[in-house]
Symmetry: C2
Subunit: 172 residues, 2 copies
């Protein structure tokens, strides 16, 4: 009695549209505020936040994977951040193909001023939702992420002919 047969088929799509709509609006807020308050952008912020979490930096590929963007994109983004002296990029002496990237002291300092502002923007956007609902929402999103990540992995595995013999997440 909670839904027709048609709901069954379109329910995931409705959830997707609701997810997308929320993210699009929150992204708009963060992007606008980053520009107005710091003269920065969301891609830069995402990149800095990844580097902020680790002590000894990351490789370009690691960044590319974590941000789910192309390798070429990371190259350009890092080049601009290096030009702004927020990020350092040094070739690995052991393996000269690898570029190791890290926050500079300036980069760390700048990012730390952005953290509380970002938190305030997001909190303000969600201020109309009771705490309990947010707790529940987070739990459901965690469940969803498991399912979605599986689908992404499956798609990636299907595209690579030389990878048939079982990635770690596949059942034996």
């Amino acid at each position: 009695m909670t839904g027709s047969a048609n709901d069954e088929a379109t329910l995931p799509l409705k959830v997707w549209l609701a997810l997308f709509s929320n993210v699009r609006q929150i992204e708009w807020l963060i992007r606008t505020n980053l520009r107005e308050s710091f003269g920065s952008t969301l891609p830069r912020f995402d990149l800095l936040s990844q580097l902020y979490r680790v002590a000894d930096g990351m490789t370009m590929s690691e960044l590319s994977t974590r941000l789910m963007v192309s390798n070429g994109n990371v190259t350009g983004l890092i080049a601009r951040l290096v030009a702004e002296r927020l990020v350092s990029r040094v070739a690995d002496p052991q393996d000269k193909r690898i570029q190791r990237v890290a926050l500079t002291p300036k980069g760390r300092r700048v990012f730390e001023t952005m953290i509380p502002a970002n938190q305030a923007w997001v909190s303000a956007a969600m201020a109309g939702v009771p705490r309990d609902d947010l707790v529940e929402l987070q739990a459901l999103l965690q469940k969803l992420k498991v399912s979605v990540s599986g689908a992404v992995q499956m798609h990636k595995a299907g595209e690579v002919p030389g990878d048939q013999d079982g990635p770690p997440w596949a059942a034996p």
Copy 2:
């Protein structure tokens, strides 16, 4: 007993990160599949889906608002879709500032082949989540949207000095 004092402050941020992560991955799936199956892109798809819902088309501003993208972006996107004969664009005879944009028969036909595919991709990504969880998730996302939309409206109102006398959503 369900959380420390620190959770209280970071809870919205955690919800945001979970939202963002899910959307990023689902977007990746849709974008990849659109390319592989239809040689198309997500921005084009979003634009077509907006036009698909209305019978008599839309103005550029309306598209810009609904998609939450800049006016300049819509101009370029529409130009490419017009070149592909998926969309028609005609100047309004009453008000020559206005461009009225609509799907062509070809555009409608093409988009209709994309609908079931898109639904299948999203369903597959969410296949690991029980139906009841999806129902609840949708309800919570609807609540969130109200809060977020209010924050967006407030930000937009704050930026325009000539708009002090209350938009429709403001309390009287």
